[in-house]
Structure formats: C-alpha cells, structure tokens
C-alpha cells in the first residue's frame, strides 16, 4: 500500500489545480459544517432549558386595565378576578404576577447582601404574586415555607414596597450564600429595607433568557406582592388546559370588560416557548440547511471532477490493466488518491474550523468549539469523499485493457 502512495502523489502533482480545488473544498466544508453543527447544538441546548414550572398545564393571561381606577379599586378588582379564576372547574390555581418565565424580561432587580453595598452581588428576576403563586407555578419548595395570606402586601403603581419576606431560587441562594446558609438571611434588593429569605425553591427560570441574562441564569426571587395586575398565571387541572384557555378569559371579561387581554403576550407554554426562542430555532434551521446542501455540493463536485480525471486517463488505465492490474487495483488507486487529497483537505479544514470559531467567540460571544466536533467532522468528510469517488472509481475499474491500444 505504501508503495502505491508515492506514485499517486507524483501523479497528483501533475494535476495540481484539481487537487488543490478538491482539497480546498473539503477544508472549507469541514470548517463551516463543524461550526454550523456546533451552533445548532448550542441553540438547541438553549431552547431546551427547563423553566422549572408546570408547563404542560400553565396559561399566562396578559391583562391591562382600560378604565381609570384608584389603587384600591384595582386591588379589589384583582382579588375578584382571582376568585373567579380559582372557581373555574378546569382550574387548579391562579396567581397574579408581574411577569412569567420566558416573557422576555419584565422586572429584574440588583441584589446586595448589605444595605450600603453599591456594586451588586448579583441580579434576580422579580416575580410578584400572592400565596398561591408557588402552587400555580408548580415549583418545588426545597427549604423553608411558602408565604401565608397575611404576608401578601399591595403595591400601587410607581410605589415601592419591600416585603419583609422573600422566597428565592436555589441558584440565587447559592450565589448569595455559597456556604448554604441562605435560609433566614436578609437580602437587600435596591433598597435599605431587608427581605428575609423564608423559602427556597428548586428551580424557576428568569423572565429574560438573552445573552445578558446568562451570568444570572435561574436566579429569581418571589415577593408576596399584588401589584396593578399585569398578568394572571393560571394552572389548569391535568388534561384540562384547553378548557381553561377557553373559560379563563370569559370569566375575566364577565368580571369586568374594561380590560385588554393581549393575545401576543403570554398564552400556553408551547406558544411562549415558540416566541421566546424563534431566533434560536431559525438559526438552527438555517445552519442545518446550509450544512446539508454544502455536503451535497462538495460530494457532487468531487464526483464531477473525479469523473473528468477518469475520462482523461482512460488510456493510462487501459495500459495498466493490460500490464496485469486487476479491477481491484484500479479501484484502490482512485480511492487512495482521493483519501490522500482528503487528508490534506481535512487537516487544513480542522485548523480553519478552530480559527473561525475563535473569531466568532470574540465577535458574537459564542462558546468555544469542542474538538469532538472537529474529529467527527474529519471522519465524516473523509467518508463523504470516499463515497463520492466510489462511482467514478468503479467506472475506472471497468475500463477495458483494450483501451491501451486505442488512440484517443
């Protein structure tokens, strides 16, 4: 086998242009497909992140008041709405809220450990609801207790109320108190008034999931506050979400029709997820399409160019056969030739793949490409090349020895 390699390389030297073109194509395709696959994986991982809430049964209703009510009137209306919602046969529980996971970012506060701290320790997504909120969201309490009805306070617009108690997520607790002593400790959320941690929930995703939010992933807090009613979160009984989606708005309008329910905000979690991640999904689809087409085009190019070479060398192949080469020898020759070109191509391509990724890391805040992708890409492209050249190589092996005697 090694005896064959030298003459093959020498022959390729005489076909420099074609060799370079195929190698370059393989290199560039490897570089782009590796990065594309990586981008797909990153995006798919992002949009599969769990929210921590009972997505299968949740409905988020966006609610804006259309009449001018005093804060007391608004609060009374909200309490009436909640009663009506909780009485619906398909509804398990309901809670008011200022936002919901994957909403795109409605409310977040800096969190400090001491009142006079200027530089925040971290940032938390702020959920304001009543004592039903934990059950409505379906999040799991892993330490401490839920709010009780007496602790729920009322907050008018443009008024800041800091409840003395707060529930935080495990991620927030760990960030603020890495030694695990969060329960019972006070936190200061852009105020000199402390909020004491009375409960820790396992997981509740932030309202915003863009790149800015990444350092604070899953850090959220819950306050027992009824504010002026931006959202109602409704948890349907298992299997009754469709009914709840029909009944809840009707029940709310029955209470008061001076409200605006925005259909483009909230909804069921499948709808919310689709909205939140559509650019990630789009990117994944685009990278997928480009990768597939690119591989097809590279394969087709190899087939085309190699067929041409086989055609050019008919006489030479005939001579070899006349001198005793078997069909297998000829086949082997072309497969080896393609493998050699492919190896050159994937080596250059691997360097390019890593280089492109490093550039993207600086420009677009991407993660670093894991070498596993490059390795898989190398193998895939070598196989692709061999597969592509199989057809022309088989045709070459069937060239009859009599071609040696024919003049072109």
């Amino acid at each position: 086998m090694s005896m064959q390699i030298k003459p093959i390389l020498a022959a390729l030297h005489r076909h420099k242009a074609g060799t370079v073109l195929i190698a370059l194509q393989i290199a560039l395709t490897l570089a782009i497909v590796c990065n594309a696959m990586f981008i797909i994986q990153q995006r798919l991982a992002h949009l599969s992140e769990p929210t921590g809430v009972d997505e299968a049964n949740l409905l988020v209703i966006s609610n804006h008041w259309a009449s001018q009510m005093s804060p007391q009137q608004t609060d009374a209306q909200i309490r009436a709405d909640l009663t009506a919602l909780r009485q619906l046969p398909s509804v398990r529980d309901a809670s008011p809220s200022d936002g919901y996971p994957l909403s795109g970012g409605n409310w977040d506060n800096f969190i400090m450990r001491t009142p006079d701290q200027l530089t925040p320790t971290t940032d938390a997504s702020v959920y304001m609801g009543d004592e039903h909120m934990l059950d409505t969201l379906g999040v799991k309490l892993v330490a401490g207790r839920n709010f009780n009805a007496a602790e729920v306070m009322q907050m008018a617009p443009r008024q800041v109320v800091i409840p003395p108690v707060v529930i935080v997520t495990q991620a927030l607790a760990d960030h603020l108190f890495p030694d695990g002593s969060a329960l019972g400790k006070p936190i200061y959320s852009m105020s000199a008034t402390p909020s004491t941690i009375i409960g820790i929930v396992e997981r509740l995703q932030r309202q915003g999931v863009t790149t800015w939010n990444k350092p604070y992933a899953y850090e959220s807090l819950l306050w027992p506050l009824r504010q002026d009613g931006s959202y109602y979160i409704v948890r349907a009984k298992p299997g009754q979400l469709a009914d709840a989606m029909r009944e809840a708005p009707k029940a709310l309008y029955a209470q008061s029709r001076m409200r605006i329910i925005d259909s483009k905000d909230g909804g069921s979690y499948p709808q919310i997820r689709e909205r939140a991640y559509d650019s990630d999904r789009g990117m994944a689809i685009l990278m997928g399409i480009i990768s597939v087409v690119l591989l097809a085009i590279t394969a087709a190019g190899i087939v085309g160019l190699t067929s041409f070479w086989v055609g050019q060398r008919r006489k030479q192949i005939g001579v070899r056969r006349a001198l005793g080469a078997t069909r297998g020898d000829i086949l082997n020759y072309f497969l080896t030739e393609n493998l050699l070109i492919g190896i050159g191509g994937v080596l250059f391509g691997a360097v390019l793949a890593i280089g492109i990724n490093l550039w993207m890391v600086t420009q677009f805040e991407m993660a670093r490409l894991s070498l596993a992708y490059v390795a898989v890409g190398v193998v895939a492209l070598l196989l692709l090349g061999q597969g592509a050249v199989l057809g022309p190589a088989l045709r070459a092996s069937h060239v009859s020895p009599v071609e040696a005697t024919r003049s072109v």
Partner: protein, 435 residues
C-alpha cells in the same frame, strides 16, 4: 464576437447536462442563500433617515456614577430631571424628548370594548425634526407643549382602522379615559430600525398608532413602557418616581453644523459639571452625544443572527464557487480537441479566453435565474429563520433581483478566470498530433 460567444455559451449548456446542472445548482443555492440573508441584513443595517442622520443627535448623561453605570457608559436614556434641564436650556435649534407609551382606547365610545394602542409621548419639534410627512393636518406647536394641550397625531394605518382613512382632524378619541383632539394624521412613516426609540427595544416593533404631547402625558401620569433605575428604590408615587434616578426619557436634538455639535457637547459637559458642583452627581462629567448611525452602532441594533447568517451564507457561496472552478475546469478541458481546432483555424489565446469566460457567464446566468427562484421561495419562508418583525423586512424588490443576477454572472466569471486560462493554453499542435 460577444454575441457569437454568447450563442456558443448557451449551446454548451445543453451539451453536458449533468455537469451543467451541478454547476447551476451550486451557483443557484449559493446565490440564493447569500441574497436572502443579505436582504435581511440590508433591511436591519441601513440608514433609516439618510437625509438627516448627520444632523440628529441624542445626548446621554451619566446620572448613576462609575459604580452603577453601564460598564463605564452613561445609561441609554435620561432621568426626568436631566431631560427637563436639557429642554429648558434650549441649546439646539430643534429638540424633543420622547418615551414609549401603551394606552387603552375606547373606539366606539364608552360602551365599546377597549383596545390597546401604542405610541410615543413627544414634543412638537419631533415632527419637523424627523421630517414626518402628514396626510391631514399637522403636528402641534411649542405653545401647545407649554400649554399641555390634549392633542394627538394618528398614524395613517391607525386612522385607517378607526375612521376608514377619512380626514379625522378635529375629532376626538378617548385614551386611558381622557379625551384627546386629533390635530393631524401622519402619512405612512415607520423608519426601520426605529432609531429614535431604542431604549430597551429592538428597533423593530409593531407599527406606531399615535403621538401625544410629552407634557400632557406626564400630567396624565402615563407610564413609560420601560424604565431602568439604580441604587435604592424608595419612591411612593408618581412625583417621587419622577425625581428619582430612574431613566426612561430619550432626548433628540437637531444640530446643523460641526460648530453647533461642539457647542452642544460643551454644554452637556458644563451641565454635568454643575450637577457635580451642586452635589447631585458625585463624579466627573460623563456625557455622550451620538448621531443616528453612531447611536445605532452603539445600541447594536443589528441582531447578531442576521450578521452570523450573512457571514455563513457568504462562506457557503465561496465554497460553491470553488466547486464551480473545478467543474468549469472539467467542462472546458473536456473539449480540448475543439479548442485545438479553433486555435488552428485562427483563434488567438485571447479569443479562446473570452469565449470561455462568456460561456461561464451563461452558466452564471442560468445559476442566477435558479438563484432568483430560490430567493423568492426563501424570502417567503424567511419568517422561519428570523423573528417575525425582522423577517417581513426582507423584500424581493428590483434592486435585489438585479443584484442576484449580477452577482451570479460575475461570480461565475471570476470562478472561470483560471479554467478559461487553462483552456486558452491548449496548444493547437498537440491536439492534432494525437490524431
């Protein structure tokens, strides 16, 4: 000779159908991918107001200090105190403040169902500054600003929804329970990106319904759609909140010469210095004055997705072209015999080169036509790939069609430089001898 080569080129397309089809597909896909992503990129990165973009500036003043500001940069909006101070100082020929509002409206009087409307609270200068065209009526005056008039300007689309496009000037609508008199209907005007309202927004939102006076909106306590605060939040009502360090107001000024720009910049620095002296700011002046394009750049209005997809598409196109180089090489050299004959009959190397370059151009044209079809399909499906507000910005207009065909033809000709050269090198003598 050009017509002759063109004729030969089109004929040769039929000759080697598989090879030609491969090339046409490679070029078609490459061109289509590039054009689709380019049309999106073009829509989001262009200058939304080319004839005034160098005269409109947005000031920023750091009201939070080095420990709380945005990584050393002042916030992207102003607090009420600073915004009003700028307006009172009137250091520019035209100036406005603005903030986004969401209000409710009763379209059919007090017994109808309310609908949500969105808009901006602006000063009267907004309309001439941004050259907003009017269908009916006009904006309001500085006197109306000072008098806190309950005026409103509707957009053409909103006017169409409410009044079927009729001249509604003089009529009234009820917003958040209060009446406003329509003083004008703006002709369709939706610059993309919405450069003037980028605070916590992408710049690609739903069309605007209306504009109302900033002063009146504040009087009616219409909340901004977004605000950002620092330090301790301890306001207990509207007035408290106004006086806080929360930022939510965007300021725009019109400055007509570099001298004016320099003067305004100095004014901003002096203002910040005064605030420092007065004890309100505990830090040295940290101000910015950016024009439209600088502001778009700073706010990173172009979503990374459209940049990444354009780059990847161009890389894809490059690979398609390299593919084409190889296939053209094969296609041309297969006919080395014919080239030898033509050379023997008197064709110079230059003539052979031109012939094959033009032949490549015909392949490019075929690829361009395929690319055009794919682009049209792709643009209609581009909402799968980009956010809806951005997706519908991608338009297949005449300039894109022309660009697609030109790019396809010239790129293929570029790919043919080397193969055509090889073709032209075919020696007449060699080909004859082998006979």
């Amino acid at each position: 000779m050009f017509a002759y080569y063109l004729q030969l080129g089109f004929r040769s397309l039929r000759r080697n159908p598989v090879l030609t089809a491969l090339m046409v597909m490679a070029i078609g896909f490459g061109v289509a991918a590039s054009m689709i992503t380019y049309s999106v990129f073009r829509a989001v990165s262009g200058n939304p107001i080319p004839n005034k973009s160098v005269q409109l500036y947005t000031p920023q003043i750091d009201g939070w200090g080095p420990q709380q500001n945005v990584k050393g940069e002042p916030a992207a909006a102003l607090s009420y105190t600073d915004a009003m101070a700028l307006m009172r100082a009137h250091q520019a020929s035209r100036q406005t403040l603005l903030y986004g509002v969401n209000m409710s409206m009763l379209p059919g009087g007090s017994h109808s169902l309310p609908v949500a409307v969105n808009g901006y609270a602006v000063y009267g200068d907004f309309f001439p500054m941004f050259e907003v065209p009017f269908l009916y009526g006009s904006g309001w005056s500085a006197a109306d600003d000072n008098g806190r008039a309950a005026a409103v300007v509707l957009s053409e689309e909103f006017n169409q929804k409410l009044f079927d496009g009729a001249n509604s000037v003089g009529r009234e609508i009820t917003l958040d329970g209060h009446d406003y008199r329509i003083v004008g209907v703006a002709r369709h005007w939706d610059p993309k990106p919405r450069f003037f309202a980028l605070f916590n927004r992408s710049g690609f939102q739903d069309p605007t319904d209306l504009y109302l006076p900033f002063t009146r909106a504040l009087d009616m306590q219409v909340s901004p759609t977004s605000n950002s605060c620092r330090g301790h939040l301890n306001f207990l009502g509207w007035d408290d909140w106004l006086r806080s360090n929360c930022v939510w107001a965007t300021s725009w000024v019109e400055l007509d010469s570099t001298a004016e720009v320099a003067r305004y910049r100095k004014f901003l620095e002096d203002y910040a210095k005064d605030q420092q002296r007065a004890g309100r700011f505990a830090w040295t002046p940290n101000v910015r004055l950016r024009d439209v394009m600088q502001w778009l750049d700073y706010q990173k209005v172009v979503p990374p997705e459209s940049r990444i997809s354009l780059i990847v598409s161009l890389g894809f196109f490059a690979i398609c072209l390299i593919n084409t180089i190889g296939l053209l090489l094969a296609k041309f050299l297969r006919r080395a015999g014919e080239i030898g004959v033509r050379r023997a009959l008197g064709a110079s190397r230059g003539e052979i080169y031109a012939q094959y370059l033009i032949e490549a151009a015909t392949v490019g044209l075929a690829g361009g036509v395929l690319g055009l079809l794919l682009t049209a399909v792709g643009i209609s499906g581009v909402s799968l790939l980009f956010r809806p507000e951005i997706a519908h910005l991608a338009q297949l207009d005449f300039s894109l069609v022309g660009l697609t065909l030109l790019v396809a033809v010239f790129a293929t000709m570029a790919a043919a430089f080397y193969p055509a050269w090889r073709a032209a090198q075919v020696q007449p003598a060699w080909q004859l001898k082998s006979n």
